[in-house]
């Protein structure tokens, strides 16, 4: 029962503190900064006689609840230390992993090998997937990770408030894109095609190729959306696998699915997506071929 939980006993236990240290290290990489962040979390949790913890109603495991609070407070610490990040729109469009890497490598200047190690811990992702993404970010943002260059002011909103900056509220790709921007989706494909041959080129031609023959009409977009009819679980699955590069076993654990289920769902989804694309007259095979001026060489 929630009333019986001794929060100081739980939070200050060796096991939970070790877990917090792992979370902080996973988030910040550097030992000193991670320790500072852990101390901040403990301080905030214990405030006002553990008031945050006492909002617990017993619906979940107390340890998991404390972990959720800790992750929120680690982000709060990062905001206070580094300011509130304002990622470029093109980066947000690529997915959450890109924003996360941008924060870690460009803003917080964490070392690339250490970032790759942590994001690929327990074989959660392929290191090459992370490396490729960092290469593209650095190619587009030459100041990224370069200690001799200043971080552009436009990338950060420095404040100590917990409230989001007004300019940031609408930063979500999901919320802000409208149908007229459908062409961006095709540009993503365009970038994927380019990256297949030359990874460092990924994302380099977004602006210049807006008038290319890859641009699709909004009507087609709507038609495809209707034919796909993806539910929320399916969208989340696709995001985790294709935008965040998570392996299927990690996805299964995160979504509490049997180990074999994500693979099976993905197979069916690919069948559906293929059928929908075909019905809308979109042939990825043609795009690949046309864009390379010939067949793709493996």
């Amino acid at each position: 029962m929630p009333s019986e939980i001794s929060w100081p006993e739980l939070i200050l236990s060796t096991g939970w503190m070790a877990k917090l240290d792992r979370l902080a290290h996973s988030r910040f990489g550097q030992q000193g900064l991670a320790e500072e962040a852990s101390t901040y979390v403990i301080h905030r949790l214990s405030e006002d006689n553990w008031a945050r913890c006492r909002t617990f109603s017993g619906q979940s495991r107390a340890e998991t609840f404390a972990q959720v609070l800790a992750v929120n407070l680690l982000e709060e610490f990062a905001r206070k230390r580094f300011g509130r990040p304002r990622p470029p729109t093109w980066l947000q469009r690529e997915g959450e992993l890109w924003v996360r890497l941008w924060k870690m490598v460009c803003l917080e200047r964490q070392l690339v090998p250490s970032v790759i190690d942590r994001l690929c811990a327990d074989k959660q992702r392929e290191p090459s997937f992370i490396q490729r993404t960092i290469t593209v970010i650095k190619a587009r943002l030459p100041w990224c990770g370069d200690s001799a260059r200043e971080i552009p002011a436009a990338c950060l909103v420095v404040d100590n408030s917990d409230e989001p900056h007004p300019e940031q509220v609408d930063l979500s790709t999901e919320q802000s894109l409208d149908k007229a921007q459908w062409e961006d989706a095709l540009l993503v494909i365009h970038q994927l095609l380019l990256s297949a041959q030359n990874p460092s080129m990924q994302g380099m031609k977004s602006e210049s190729s807006k008038n290319s023959d890859l641009i699709m009409q909004p009507d087609t977009a709507l038609q495809l959306q209707q034919r796909l009819d993806l539910n929320d679980e399916e969208r989340l699955l696709l995001k985790m696998v294709y935008q965040d590069g998570l392996k299927l076993n990690v996805v299964a654990q995160a979504m509490n699915l049997p180990a074999y289920q994500p693979g099976r769902l993905l197979n069916r989804l690919h069948q559906r997506i293929g059928t929908a694309l075909e019905a809308c007259g979109i042939s990825l095979e043609d795009l690949f071929r046309d864009h390379k001026g010939g067949a793709i060489h493996e």
Partner: protein, 280 residues
């Protein structure tokens, strides 16, 4: 990334973009609900609502990813061997599965499922599967409780003890085939298999199936690539064998219908490690 994977990735990204902008459903999840989601303690409908928020709110999604990765890391660190001893009644579900096995055999023989995608929606499939899992879990719980009352001595078994079962000769032949095929590096697995397997190699279909299973295991432990020929051989063999009821049967028979064979091989390994040879 090969051509097919690239096309799949491109198609998936395109599908994601096409489906963007859908508003979230239900109230925004509280911190405790996120914890419930990680602990798998939410009802199906609320879970879907929270998924809609995760899709619509990048900040929330990032937070959840951090939590989920740390959750997965914790599970990985707790190790699979720990889980083997947790449920000494794991095999009991097979007693309830004999009728399902008969149904499965019928499906394997009759349904041309490979050529025709299932008409049922994925969402319904998930709901049905989750319901089935919940029922299985509840059944196992109640069986465990009953056994505790009837057989208090079971409680005295050490946590790491496996479950003693009698395997049919057919399945022991399959295990022998596996043991004979595994690469030398798989010492622990091979020893475990040999402790359960028949002592002499048989020229049976089950032995041959075991050889294919061993090849599958080797492929999964290596680069994870499964040759098309091996996949098709496993399917043909799984369909052609007359499966006895009991532990391991259903998992092995599923080799004929699952796509993610490495995940299934992993399930089989876990199940095998949960079994103890009689008389030990």
């Amino acid at each position: 990334m090969n051509k097919s994977s690239r096309e799949q990735a491109a198609a998936a990204r395109l599908a994601l973009h096409a489906s963007r902008g859908q508003p979230p459903r239900g109230p925004e999840p509280s911190e405790e609900e996120l914890a419930q989601l990680l602990d798998d303690r939410l009802e199906f409908s609320r879970k879907q609502e929270i998924y809609s928020h995760l899709n619509a709110n990048p900040e929330l999604y990032r937070q959840w990813l951090l939590l989920a990765e740390s959750h997965a890391e914790r599970q990985a660190q707790s190790g699979t061997t720990e889980n083997h001893g947790k449920n000494p009644f794991h095999w009991l579900r097979w007693f309830g599965a004999s009728s399902a096995l008969a149904g499965l055999a019928a499906v394997l023989v009759i349904a041309p499922w490979r050529d025709t995608p299932p008409s049922i929606s994925v969402q319904h499939d998930i709901a049905r599967e989750q319901k089935a899992q919940l029922e299985k879990r509840q059944a196992r719980e109640s069986q465990r409780k009953e056994s505790r009352v009837k057989e208090p001595q079971v409680e005295q078994l050490p946590q790491t003890a496996g479950t003693q079962v009698i395997l049919s000769q057919d399945l022991r032949d399959a295990l022998k085939g596996m043991a004979d095929t595994l690469v030398p590096a798989e010492t622990t697995y091979r020893t475990k298999l040999e402790s359960l397997a028949s002592t002499t190699a048989q020229n049976s279909g089950f032995y041959a199936f075991g050889v294919s299973l061993g090849q599958l295991q080797n492929a999964c432990a290596g680069d994870g690539k499964i040759e098309k020929q091996l996949r098709s051989e496993l399917q043909t063999q799984a369909e052609g064998l007359n499966w006895p009821s009991g532990p391991l049967s259903l998992t092995m028979a599923r080799m004929g219908m699952e796509q993610d064979l490495c995940a299934l091989a992993e399930e089989l390994r876990e199940e095998i490690f949960g079994i103890e040879a009689p008389g030990k």
